[in-house]
């Protein structure tokens, strides 16, 4: 049935395109577009910034989106920042870690390395990159970091290297293409904690995903 449907739909599409007889400029060259993936309009907001400017814009935009940003000078200081966040939130000193972060010295915190389970209060996962334009984190699935850790726990802590903050969305795509061999099951672009306005347009945090998003910014 669906094979027939496929042929019928595509035939009807081709008939419609022929009827429209689009001018050559509109028609363009799909193969070239797919291969060259040209950029469209990229806002100046993030394009012209130096690395320090990108970090500054990222922090400002992420904060505006209600994320908490905690800056540490080096990777070794991440566990202490995580412990400080948990304490400030009056949470137990225990986290579920993504495998990629297992190598840090987590002395003083109870850690488990596994996908998330219902009731986990906090998780720590690595970010692939940050996007200054909107204060957005880029995370992707893989053996290094189960995706459930990004959505199930009430408090999500994300470790982001400042050097991995790019200006615009398109810069993040370039990194994904250059560094990932194959397309991962999912790429999660995360901008602040979960929220809803479905109850009389009242903005509430923590709809189904994390109530809080803490970005531990390294460097």
């Amino acid at each position: 049935m669906t094979t027939n449907a496929r042929d019928a739909i595509l035939a009807n599409i081709r008939k419609g395109i022929a009827r429209a007889d689009p001018p050559a400029a509109l028609k363009g060259d799909p193969a070239a577009r797919l291969a060259g993936h040209p950029r469209n309009v990229v806002p100046a907001r993030a394009a012209a910034l130096d690395p320090a400017g990108r970090v500054e814009l990222f922090v400002a935009m992420a904060t505006e989106a209600s994320a908490v940003v905690s800056r540490v000078p080096e990777r070794a200081a991440v566990p202490a920042a995580v412990a400080a966040f948990l304490e400030a939130q009056a949470l137990p000193p225990s986290v579920v870690l993504a495998p990629e972060l297992a190598g840090l010295d987590w002395t003083g915190l109870a850690t488990e390395i596994r996908p998330a389970r219902g009731g986990d209060p906090a998780s720590v996962t690595p970010a692939f990159a940050g996007i200054a334009e909107t204060g957005t984190l880029v995370l992707h699935s893989g053996g290094h970091s189960p995706t459930s850790l990004n959505f199930v726990p009430d408090h999500h802590l994300v470790v982001l290297e400042a050097a991995r903050i790019v200006g615009a969305y398109e810069d993040a795509w370039d990194l994904l293409r250059a560094e990932l061999g194959a397309i991962p099951r999912t790429v999660n672009l995360i901008t602040g904690p979960s929220r809803t306005a479905d109850l009389e347009q009242t903005l509430l945090m923590g709809a189904h995903g994390p109530v809080q998003l803490c970005i531990v910014l390294v460097g």
Partner: protein
Amino acid sequence: MQVSSLQFKQNAHAALEDAALQRALGKLKAGFPVKRAAAIAKLPEFEALRDAGRDLKNHVLANLDTYLETFEANVRENGGHVHWAADAEQANAIILELCRRVGAKTVTKGKSMVSEETGLNDYLAANGVTPVETDLGEYILQLRDEHPSHIVAPAIHLSLDQVSDAFHQHHRPYGKTARQTEPRALLDEAREIMRTRFAAADVGITGANFCIAETGQTVIFTNEGNGDLTQLLAKVHIVITSIDKVVPTLEDLATFMRLLPRSATGQELTVYTSLSSGPRRADDADGPGEFHVVLLDNGRSGMLGSEFQDMLRCIRCAACINHCPVYGAVGGHAYGWVYPGPMGSVLTPQLVGIEQAGLLPNASTFCGRCESVCPVRIPLPKLMRHWRNREYEKHLQPRAYRFGLGAWAWLAKHPGWYRKATALQARLLKLLGGKAGRIRALPVARGWTAWRDLPAPEGKTFHELWAERSPGAAR
């Protein structure tokens, strides 16, 4: 879903009398348009982005076959499956079959207007599979056995009180016996209950805002996180979407990442913009074991090359709805089907037939706000006018209406008679207006005078006044 667009007038009357609905609509008008304006004021490139969005969609439509085939090939490359559905019935049957194959008893669902279009929930329920809506607004509607009244904020028409009642009535089996009234408490209750449903579902169904041909990824823009939990925790992820959602590349997605959230809710970007393709990979510790995309046509391919092609650019942001004075007065349910507001008035006649929906393209003041805010510059008033033409050609309007239009057309084509008729009319109306210059009641205009006085003309037509003012002017 039953089409009740032919009852638009009755629906609208009822909506105008509904105090709770009017309060909710008041909030909507004070909310979304203001937030949108604030967001685009912060992005100087917004108008250039609208041009880019329009041009990009036009390019996609001129090559729709190529991009759909590329998308399909890349979904397969990533280990997923693509199913084509010519109409709603086929889409529902495909999804039911996928559910049955894994013995699914419950499916969780992220928000999807295409699934509303196919009536998927009722179909699954009638065939022994229980659908569970997970978006908070959609969940509330499911409890109340209602349909969305808005394509982005589905429960916009409801008051907190009505939500309290729905939860109080339906959450008893979960041990929730107290009637909560605070938004936070209501949300926490729904969140807790929904957590048990995500993990228990065999199949997770989401929609897609876009499908990327280059990578074979489907993309959802959400704020709650339910769409991600839906696809992540189920054994099978099914995406139900339509053929007009394909974009060529990630760079093209970026353009819509800048247009869609700002136009919809005034956000810089939605909280979760999630790109998905294929089942869990060999080294993934979680994620669904299967990935299916159902591509629905349902009349869309027939719009290509027609006067309605521009409508296929629509990205479902609801800016036209949020800015429409008619929607703002009567709400979404009055439109009588899935898609309300200006975009619905153009789309519904195409999807259900002009015979069923002829009143919708007439339910417009043609003020043009919809077109002025559309992120992909769809000429919505023009498209509604095309539907009025079609309606006229098919002789669908009442006899008196057609007679009136015919009489006016004859007059308009005979300038001498036109001047005489309008001069007579202006003098008569002046007489009727009396000293106050206002007409209290007029037999042929009761729809107007029942609610407010009609200001009377001052006795002369524009032609006459113009001739007096410029004596030498050609007539």
